[in-house]
Subunit: 326 residues, 4 copies
Amino acid sequence: MSEIKKIGVFTSGGDSPGMNAAIRAVVRSALYYNLEVVGIRRGYEGMILGEFIPMDRKSVGNIIQRGGTVLRTARSPEFRTKEGRQEAYKQLKAQNIDALVAIGGDGTFTGAKIFGEEFDFPILGLPGTIDNDLFGTDFTIGYDTSINNVVEAIDRIRDTAESHSRLFVVEVMGRDCGLIALRSGIGVGAESIFIPETKTDMEAVMHRLEIGRQDKMSKILIVAEGEGESGGAMEISEKLKKRFPHYDIRVSILGHIQRGGKPTCMDRVLASRLGVAAVESLMEGRRNEMVGLLNGKIAFTPFDHAIKHHVEINKDLFKIVDILSL
Amino acid sequence: MSEIKKIGVFTSGGDSPGMNAAIRAVVRSALYYNLEVVGIRRGYEGMILGEFIPMDRKSVGNIIQRGGTVLRTARSPEFRTKEGRQEAYKQLKAQNIDALVAIGGDGTFTGAKIFGEEFDFPILGLPGTIDNDLFGTDFTIGYDTSINNVVEAIDRIRDTAESHSRLFVVEVMGRDCGLIALRSGIGVGAESIFIPETKTDMEAVMHRLEIGRQDKMSKILIVAEGEGESGGAMEISEKLKKRFPHYDIRVSILGHIQRGGKPTCMDRVLASRLGVAAVESLMEGRRNEMVGLLNGKIAFTPFDHAIKHHVEINKDLFKIVDILSL
Amino acid sequence: MSEIKKIGVFTSGGDSPGMNAAIRAVVRSALYYNLEVVGIRRGYEGMILGEFIPMDRKSVGNIIQRGGTVLRTARSPEFRTKEGRQEAYKQLKAQNIDALVAIGGDGTFTGAKIFGEEFDFPILGLPGTIDNDLFGTDFTIGYDTSINNVVEAIDRIRDTAESHSRLFVVEVMGRDCGLIALRSGIGVGAESIFIPETKTDMEAVMHRLEIGRQDKMSKILIVAEGEGESGGAMEISEKLKKRFPHYDIRVSILGHIQRGGKPTCMDRVLASRLGVAAVESLMEGRRNEMVGLLNGKIAFTPFDHAIKHHVEINKDLFKIVDILSL
Amino acid sequence: MSEIKKIGVFTSGGDSPGMNAAIRAVVRSALYYNLEVVGIRRGYEGMILGEFIPMDRKSVGNIIQRGGTVLRTARSPEFRTKEGRQEAYKQLKAQNIDALVAIGGDGTFTGAKIFGEEFDFPILGLPGTIDNDLFGTDFTIGYDTSINNVVEAIDRIRDTAESHSRLFVVEVMGRDCGLIALRSGIGVGAESIFIPETKTDMEAVMHRLEIGRQDKMSKILIVAEGEGESGGAMEISEKLKKRFPHYDIRVSILGHIQRGGKPTCMDRVLASRLGVAAVESLMEGRRNEMVGLLNGKIAFTPFDHAIKHHVEINKDLFKIVDILSL
């Protein structure tokens, strides 16, 4: 295959903490191996519009600790069209970019797969999303930070809940995936956790709350935002208020604070390892795969595998919630 | 007047970070001056029900760093009635408690004033509330921590806003008072701040956003929760979405994370100084006043003064928002 | 084997963040399975002296977020003697404790193994140490929090280093083990990392610093405290000062801030999973093993295996340091 | 006087958190009032070498939350000489800079005063230093953040101290000034605080420790780095070890983590208010003064007054340490 001389790197989809560390790793690795490297602003949208920015060692100095992404991100309806992708390809060729590293989630990889096959273009992906729902990596870049953001926020809520003997229903991110809710729920000693993957027995939840009420102590219920069955945080709190009219019940929607802020050490190290591996692997001729870390080792998973397979929820984790909150 | 021998201390109203540091200061000061000291759980409610807990040096060991209040707090409709207060007085007498330190906000002081006058009972108050709306103290215990909680949360939101070029409308606490919104707004470089005390010119806000849009950069608007004029965070965001259909606009309701968590150094020191002063002042015969810190010096303000006077919003601070966000 | 009815739990060796979450998990699991559970203060020392404290659900309420250990820890020279252990055994029998969960590191497990064999006493261990140097678990309870503590501290140092174009030599914990230095070093973009497991080429380090000096930018060198070859942080900084007299070089010994503070989500979840598994496994008849998590699954490793085998340093991680700091 | 058209801004001396917020405020205010504004890198050194960088709105976008200073800082022996200052003046004139805002501490103001008088050059100063030892402002920019950094670090040390019943002697910054030690000492419930301004009675300290030892609880002693009388943290710990051979005593030198990291809300707001005031005041013709905040109001103090007068230590604060730690 042709030798890689110039790599383009971009971030796409929802931002996640650690994306900057990944960009830095890709840029510094490329320079280490004497390749040129170009940053593409605002994901596929910027690729189509030709928003390229040359990157050197200094461009990524000190961004390892910063949340968000310095290359920005954006939705791109145009990239879903053949014309849009054709334009993107033209722009890349005009820049002599001969390989891409795409940092994002399932939406990003869907586009990458199509583009890579359409134009026979070498492209590897790094799992940059807070959702941890990609197959082929134990953790995605940003997941560890976001569960810690949730835990920090709920530690604060716990203080006020304890002071007032309140029950808080807290909604966390996780559109189709309850992993953030589950892990952070264990981390804060939540009473119950509602996630999309399982049907929660509302009666059992009510019953346990009834027993626990004598204590007059605080209680935290976690609800993943994509959880539709029981109706989301607001509806769940309404049902609880009806059943327990004398219980002080509040709702907290954590929202976007979950995404931002400094990445944790694990996210920085993961991003760094994957970024280096991506560049080395492109040089070795790999393409159309997501680079991940499985059991501590670098692993490659074809894009469609990474997206299509659901990550199994660990049933043991659920049992732990029950045991530890009784 | 009779010599004080046994002090009761309690927290009441919404919890605020630093209340524990204040409890600790009252308890340790009382012991230092060879007085007995008793904690009363759950505010006036607990006083009526006789929920007393003897306090010693160890009871308050290491609570200086903890958010919330170890003595809890609760609403007390009963205390608003003469019978309720009569019962409370009986309970205090049964315990030989001859003076009280009440840590809370305006609701707490309203009750304290009535009770203190009704039974000729020595009671002093410490300003424990995140709202900073009490007259007679530059800062209330908990205000500094909450504005920092807001700033930390919005620093995170800023990361994701920057990555997506989004506009965020963030609602912060401050039922009748825009002080949290104002100070934290300056601290995060907010575009505009909507508070109850002033009427915000929505047209001017729209206009400035229009000018700024070319940049495609992030923007933060802060809305105090009690701000009714423009309709609260949700309504404001709706108006903005109508005017700027292509602008990515999100809402974030910070909620209860603002109250909790470790108190800042300032709140710990303020709570400590006021706690010591309260005990010393009760011993000197002072009563029916809030102990505060004005211009770095301990100051005493009769309860009704502390509550009734509105804290002036510093117009200069508003001008700074405009200057620095252009 | 005899049925377990009453479990004793203790923490021993250096404290590590997450120990409280582990204690909580052991206590709540025991209660869930209708066993009695007793806390033993101050490790083996307290066992000998009979410092037992009955534990119930409330004893461990809200300790999941707290650093340190509520059961304390202490050195115990007496436990190294046969008489001391005999006394400990007597105390356990007097309490009808028929199984133990020991939370600590290699020192703890050494004592546990000897005791367990000597008295045919069921005892399982949880890896509570910041060093991550136990065989049989990917991570120890406390490791993730301490590398994040290091990263936070160095993020701060980086701000001041950048402002002054300084070189900082930072010493981190890790008596025999460079894992904290290595991971946190990647996480902060360190120039070089000195660890006990490898011999660092001082000349190469000097050379790279020379090249980088033109930039006038900040540099961070990480030194694990047990690193003897190059002389520790102080000596290394002296050598650098001799070679680069015009370079502003400072030393920072991070010390004990690395151990404390709130455990991260990962440490809380790990501690919770292992605590539950320990109780369930004691009930199933397992003994004399450390319970760990390997590749996401609960794993059991005999005590001596857990201690004696060195954890291999991942050479890839070292290469990453070089690539990303050039 | 001549109308100001172009302002130069720089940071000098030790960096302090909030300097970036101050730079931002100066730049944005200048632009708001239609002045040009230029950043000068690396303080007086950069002024002499002509290291100017034009600043616009975007230059300071999002730096309000960042520690350190984007304009860097450096020592300048040359500026102490008449030739050096002559060269600096030449450079300013070549750039048509007609006024300066100097952000720093006493060293910075000493140079500013001399320069301003020598060349009749309008220059105002902002108090950017963690030491809070300038006369004319209740707080300096960076003081609040550094005492919070200290408090956070010691909260961590407290966890490990509690677990092991240890005594920690912690050294904090404050070369000539014990204010950081005093306020943070109260904030962490320290036993004793050693500062340069007062002579600490070592015997009394030893005596109180003796009484407290039965508890076997943790103790924290704070020592300001400039405290020479008792010998600094190391010497103090040696004396204590001799007196209490069975007491587990450790030393922690906090070092440079105290300076860095995100500024608190107070420091950001202070920096913003003073930055705006500096520009407005230069336009009104003020010069050779430090702009500060006293009792919530903008205040102007001639440079030599700001430096020469010692800030009185508040004796009450000392008494509080004793009362609350008994």
